[in-house]
């Protein structure tokens, strides 16, 4: 079958339409460049009533929201989850990595938690700080101007706290805490754990006329139909188009490789159109990969040529290496003080927490490096599949029998409604060369493209961090006068440390650095080996932080895009 070539030569071809691709699209299109955005999934607009799940009721579905079709429940706005039909990935024996892929315009930004934390000064200098991992070739001062612009462009609520490693920004005002969050604040303060208003990208206040203001349905994971939360489609790509930008969207197009010429420079990409299963070529002066850290690594490794026999940008043999996800562990508690709640009011609030705890620990007194933040959930939430299971299980805390039937079950449901509080610890592991993804030579996807094989194991450092999380959660629940639910996971279960990948913060794989022997891109996310290919997803991250990665992906993508503009104008690339 012949490869079908498109005659247009784009200034920039952007692969992927999530945080990194969306931001590059916005900045480069606004600068007047002709841009192609190639997305492996279909078109998606949160405002389209046909696909919208926001404000649906559980009884509109025969499975009442159960997660049979979508891993996070059927209202979750992600097409694709740990598995994507026809697009497998494999594991080296004895290792694990769970890989979430959202195949749709905007990618995972359509359902993410919107927790929008800046990395702090210490987060860029991990090795200097404690000897583990590597320092970034940039520091907080390099990225700060972009975080500032980002806050204003997209909107994030929060408060100025003056914390050293949790820098303040240009915040919208936060929502007031809910009832269970007041219990959390009191419980945490007893132990000296700081609690501050959360920092999330929902509009509690108007920022422009194109986006609505939050109406507090608590359903950001369903993607907001009035664009009051950040998704890459609604907040970056659509505005770029509306602004008169030359943006051609290629949806349902799965990039196979970056094409190169005799000099080894990129000439564009080749992709498979999922509908007709034919292979096409797009030509561009610059290629920006933003397909997700692992997908971009896959494309590079699959882009083998005479000039790049080891894959594109892989002379260092480091593409795919230093793959890193946040650490995660969870616990939940039953809080008798939250029983017998009045249901006279709507406390859905914004999607997710109104308060959180940034990392507070002193590592010189701890047996692990780096830290974690605590996310909090609870409240009188919308009943969905699973609601009412083990309805009076908490009777055992009062010496009452568990089980039974009859009219009293109604009282049990109401007595315990909203009395559970849960915690998620999200922390920083250490990036290691030994944790990586590579091409599995034995497996292809349904488009004939070789797939990734993961090799990832946590070390003792991350396991010790998870133990600290569990001990902290237990203490918090105790401080709130509550009871820990379930068995506290012990050493045999790695203290409940979730599987690598499960926090959906994949970073690394094409890390940045000044030395082409020990890094894949330079500090502007430009491949050392090929000057017209850039990576603007989380691949260039040298390390994680005790923060979520999205705000930093966005800021760095903006910074890299500014550099691309400059280089194109100077005819350097």
């Amino acid at each position: 079958m012949q490869i079908i070539e498109n005659g247009t030569v784009y200034d920039v071809i952007i692969v992927g339409s999530g945080a990194g691709g969306g931001m590059a699209t916005k900045i480069l299109a606004d600068a007047g460049f002709k841009v192609a955005v190639v997305e492996a999934g279909p078109f998606f607009d949160p405002a389209d009533p046909k696909t919208m799940t926001q404000l649906k009721w559980p009884y509109e579905s025969p499975r009442r929201g159960a997660n049979t079709d979508r891993a996070f429940g059927e209202w979750d706005m992600s097409w694709g989850d740990w598995e994507v039909e026809g697009e497998p990935y494999t594991h080296a024996e004895g290792t694990n990595f769970m890989w979430w892929r959202s195949r749709m315009l905007g990618g995972r930004t359509n359902h993410w938690g919107r927790i929008s934390l800046r990395f702090g000064p210490k987060d860029f200098k991990g090795k200097t700080r404690d000897g583990y991992g590597e320092d970034w070739p940039i520091g907080y001062e390099d990225i700060k101007p972009y975080y500032d612009k980002l806050d204003k462009l997209i909107g994030v609520f929060g408060t100025k706290e003056g914390l050293e490693n949790d820098p303040d920004g240009f915040f919208l005002p936060p929502p007031k805490p809910r009832l269970h969050e007041l219990f959390y604040i009191n419980g945490a303060r007893k132990t000296g754990i700081p609690v501050i208003p959360s920092r999330m990208s929902m509009l509690t206040k108007r920022i422009n006329k194109d986006r609505g203001v939050c109406f507090y349905c608590g359903q950001c994971s369903r993607s907001c139909s009035v664009y009051a939360d950040f998704s890459a489609g609604s907040c970056l790509i659509f505005p770029a188009q509306k602004n008169g930008g030359q943006v051609d969207l290629f949806v349902n197009c799965m990039v196979r490789e970056v094409t190169t010429n005799e000099e080894g420079k990129a000439t564009g990409v080749s992709y498979i159109h999922k509908e007709d299963r034919k292979e096409y070529k797009l030509k561009g002066k610059v290629v920006v990969l933003a397909a997700s850290a692992c997908s971009s690594a896959r494309i590079l490794l699959n882009s083998k040529s005479k000039q790049h026999p080891n894959g594109l940008g892989n002379s260092s043999d480091l593409v795919g290496r230093y793959l890193l996800d946040s650490t995660g562990a969870s616990a939940a508690g039953f809080i008798p003080g939250l029983m017998n709640r009045k249901v006279t009011y709507n406390e859905d609030g914004v999607g997710g927490m109104h308060v959180y705890s940034p990392w507070w620990g002193d590592n010189s007194k701890l047996d692990f490096p780096r830290g974690y933040h605590i996310e909090v959930w609870g409240g009188m939430r919308q009943p969905n599949y699973g609601f009412g299971f083990n309805v009076n299980d908490f009777n055992r805390f009062f010496g009452l029998k568990v089980g039974g039937y009859g009219d009293r079950l109604r009282e049990d449901v109401k007595k315990y409604y909203g009395s559970v509080i849960g915690f998620g610890g999200r922390g920083e592991g250490i990036a290691r060369k030994e944790n990586y993804c590579e091409i599995d030579p034995t497996t292809v996807d349904r488009y004939g493209i070789p797939v990734l094989r993961f090799n990832y194991k946590w070390s003792d450092l991350e396991i010790k961090q998870a133990k600290h999380m569990q001990d902290t959660f237990e203490e918090l629940i105790h401080n709130m006068g509550g009871h820990l639910l379930g068995e506290k996971p012990g050493k045999d279960q790695q203290y409940g440390l979730l599987a690598p990948g499960q926090i959906i913060h994949e970073v690394g794989t094409t890390r940045m650095g000044d030395d082409p022997k020990t890094s894949v891109t330079n500090k502007y996310q430009q491949l050392h080996d090929v000057d017209n290919v850039f990576i603007t997803d989380a691949g260039p991250f040298v390390s994680q932080a005790d923060k979520n990665c999205t705000w930093t992906i966005l800021a760095l993508s903006w910074r890299a895009s500014d550099y691309i503009i400059e280089q194109l104008k100077q005819l350097n690339i």
């Binding site: 909107g155 005002p173 007031k176 805490p177 009832l179 939430r381 609601f387 009412g388 299980d393």
Partner: protein, 236 residues
């Protein structure tokens, strides 16, 4: 009443009480209401719709089994005015769907229903659905108390069956329109969050920290575009 109108009606009600509570006029600051379109597929993708249609075309329970599920459901959670019970909540249909959607449930459900009739026939000479309420309760009384300290899968099938049925009945009811009304859940509606009402704070013995609240959103200014000074202080 169409969906959009109903949301507006409820919203006006909610807005009115919020304004009364906070003693300010919030009429001009009403949240925007997304355009909701009546659809029959709750945002499904074509692939998901296809799977739904396939499941809907399958039959897991025969008429007798569906009737038995209906009867057992109302023993577990008797109807109560004004919000009805499992039948009004379409719990039997929900249970059948879940038995197909999650195939691991199938054996426990089918086997448990057979056990129920066998037990009732043995003790009372009648199948469960035709027995008197006293007889049905006599059967349920024998299986409704599981041991919470032993993993459920290590307990007898009929015990597992009853736990599963109770879970599905309570869940099915409280995720239905009538059940949500019974619960009193007020969410899933556009509204303006302005904190926990004072009587609720008092009931639970907590209070807002004035310093914290001072930093929170002033909902009367939510529609005024944000502007900051160069140090990030919000000016509007």
């Amino acid at each position: 009443m169409d969906r959009r109108k109903s949301i507006q009606t409820i919203l006006l009600g909610a807005g009115a009480s919020a304004a009364a509570f906070y003693g300010c006029t919030m009429g001009s600051e009403a949240p925007e209401i997304p355009a909701l379109e009546k659809t029959n597929f709750f945002g499904r993708t074509p692939e998901e719709l296809e799977r739904l249609e396939k499941l809907n075309a399958e039959q897991l329970f025969d008429a007798h089994e569906m009737e038995t599920i209906g009867v057992l459901s109302t023993v577990i959670l008797p109807p109560r005015a004004p919000h009805g019970g499992p039948i009004e909540a379409e719990v039997p249909e929900f249970i059948e769907f879940m038995g197909k959607d999650i195939p691991e449930l199938e054996l426990t459900l089918l086997g448990g229903l057979m056990w129920l009739d066998h037990k009732c026939n043995t003790e009372f000479g009648t199948e469960f659905k035709s027995a008197t309420l006293e007889q049905q309760q006599a059967i349920c009384d024998q299986i409704c108390w599981h041991n919470p300290d032993v993993p459920l899968e290590e307990q007898a099938l009929e015990i597992q069956f009853f736990v599963l049925m109770r879970n599905l009945v309570v869940c099915g009811y409280y995720t239905s329109k009538v059940g949500i009304a019974d619960l009193g859940y007020k969410g899933n509606m556009p509204n303006i969050w302005n904190g926990v009402p004072q009587d609720v704070l008092d009931q639970h013995g907590v209070a807002y920290d004035p310093e914290w609240i001072a930093k929170c959103v002033d909902q009367s200014k939510r529609n005024i575009a944000a502007e900051w000074d160069e140090d990030g202080n919000l000016l509007t």
